[in-house]
């Protein structure tokens, strides 16, 4: 039996502060990256045996 999937802990103190700061300063990806994401998504969609 494999190790269980680890729980995500409650964030507190410095961890929470750093997390919030990064969230507020989030930098959007470029249009090129967005286009790449869509291209990869379409490739996966084509090979999937289930509806996406």
């Amino acid at each position: 039996m494999a190790k269980p999937i680890k729980d995500t802990p409650v964030l507190r103190g410095r961890d929470a502060a750093v997390f919030i700061k990064k969230m507020e300063e989030v930098k959007p990806i470029s249009k090129q990256e967005k286009d790449k994401q869509k291209e990869v998504y379409e490739q996966f969609k084509k090979i999937a045996n289930f509806e996406l």
Partner: protein, 175 residues
């Protein structure tokens, strides 16, 4: 090798899992012993990338959330600033990657990054529920950590610095 040469299978109870070669016993165990149990208990869904006769890679997904301590100073105000009518929200919905692994044979062919790219788009553009973050529990070794950092994941906490695995996250607002 191109993704178009593979199949993406949603693992179900009757799915026959093709051979898979990882040097990590835990990752083999999870696929062959646990993945179907997680599925039958509605705890996680595993997806397989297959070629003609082998499992090339697999990943398992489950719902999760990032929660803040109730009295964390200022956090609730910050969270609620842009969410109308929310009163007591101290968490964000997230999706967790319970496992993500590429077989030894296909390692280094960018398949892991393509899976992450696909998931980032899927959970931003075609999601059935709200989801702000992708979380992953990464092996705490240079190769795995650098892989997720290259894919723009950050550490979630510094409390697991000396543990076997480290929680990392991707903010889907980047998309």
């Amino acid at each position: 090798m191109s993704i178009s040469e593979l199949k993406l299978i949603r693992l179900e109870q009757n799915t026959e899992i093709k051979s898979f070669n990882s040097t990590d016993v835990d990752l083999n165990d999870f696929l062959f012993s646990d993945a179907k149990n997680y599925y039958s208990q509605l705890m996680a869904v595993t997806y397989l990338l297959e070629d003609k006769d082998k499992t090339v890679a697999y990943y398992s997904l489950l719902n999760d959330k990032i929660t803040f301590e109730e009295n964390q100073k200022g956090v609730r105000n910050r969270i609620n600033r842009n969410i109308p009518f929310s009163k007591h929200m101290n968490y964000y919905p997230a999706m967790k990657i319970g496992r993500l692994v590429v077989s030894e044979e296909y390692s280094g062919k960018n398949i892991g990054s393509e899976i992450l790219t696909f998931l980032k788009y899927l959970f931003t553009n075609n999601n059935r529920t709200g989801c702000r973050f992708i979380i992953v529990d990464a092996y705490n070794n240079e190769r795995a950590i650098k892989f997720y950092q290259r894919n723009r994941f950050d550490f979630l906490t510094m409390e697991d610095e000396d543990k076997d695995t480290r929680l990392m996250y991707y903010d889907l607002m980047k998309n």
